[in-house]
Symmetry: C2
Subunit: 116 residues, 2 copies
Amino acid sequence: MSIPIPGQQVRGSKSGKPIMALLDLLGRTWALGVIWNLSQGPATFRELQQRCEQISPSLLNTRIKELKQLSIIEVVDEGYTLSQQGVDLFTIISPLSSWSKDWAANIETAKPQLEN
Amino acid sequence: MSIPIPGQQVRGSKSGKPIMALLDLLGRTWALGVIWNLSQGPATFRELQQRCEQISPSLLNTRIKELKQLSIIEVVDEGYTLSQQGVDLFTIISPLSSWSKDWAANIETAKPQLEN
DNA sequence: AACACTTGCTACTAAATCAGTAGCAAAGTA
DNA sequence: TACTTTGCTACTGATTTAGTAGCAAGTGTT
């Protein structure tokens, strides 16, 4: 598995645009989930694993390596934590929480039409 | 492949929380990319495929079905377009573009340390 | 009508990624 | 010393993605 370094080709994109590298990174299983769960505060490996609903350690470790190398998370005494950049990133995506609730309510309403 | 409907279990999460369904959805290859590229305006199937750097038609179709069923994109005369909810979603994530540029610049600077 | 194009999409195979489980080395604790 | 906890690696099987070929339906042209 290669880490999507901005400026280089990434999975599915040859442009090297930073946004494509980011979308590649965030488009990996649990990448957003790890960031999301770390926003609650630092966590040890096993605690982070619990927050992520028992994600397998191999996958968690892979995600950690990627996010660490890309300076989104970092290691501190208490375990892993979001870096300043990671915090900024989370700030951007945090409104997704309330958006997703509206969305869920809407889909609920629209359900009868989903059959088509 | 099952579509991550909020309120039900999704890949990696049994909680049924809307945010987890959303993170699952967005954590699939090209889901964010499709939304990103549709934000430029409606596109036909083949044009969308081009905007997504020749994503394979089978995968594009899969993503389209998911996003359509979840009311994030919809069909219009010109092809596919973001729904109002999709536009709202894009509004939230659009700052990722500038964030990713800062991020890229930062990683560039930090590169000598990446070797460790 | 016959032909050539375009469009939306399905089918299929191979490669990559993810899930799930077992377990080990190192560090801490009793 | 023996027992736990922690961080992590290894391995296997299942799922997802990439890449390519191509077809049916619609459109335009001659």
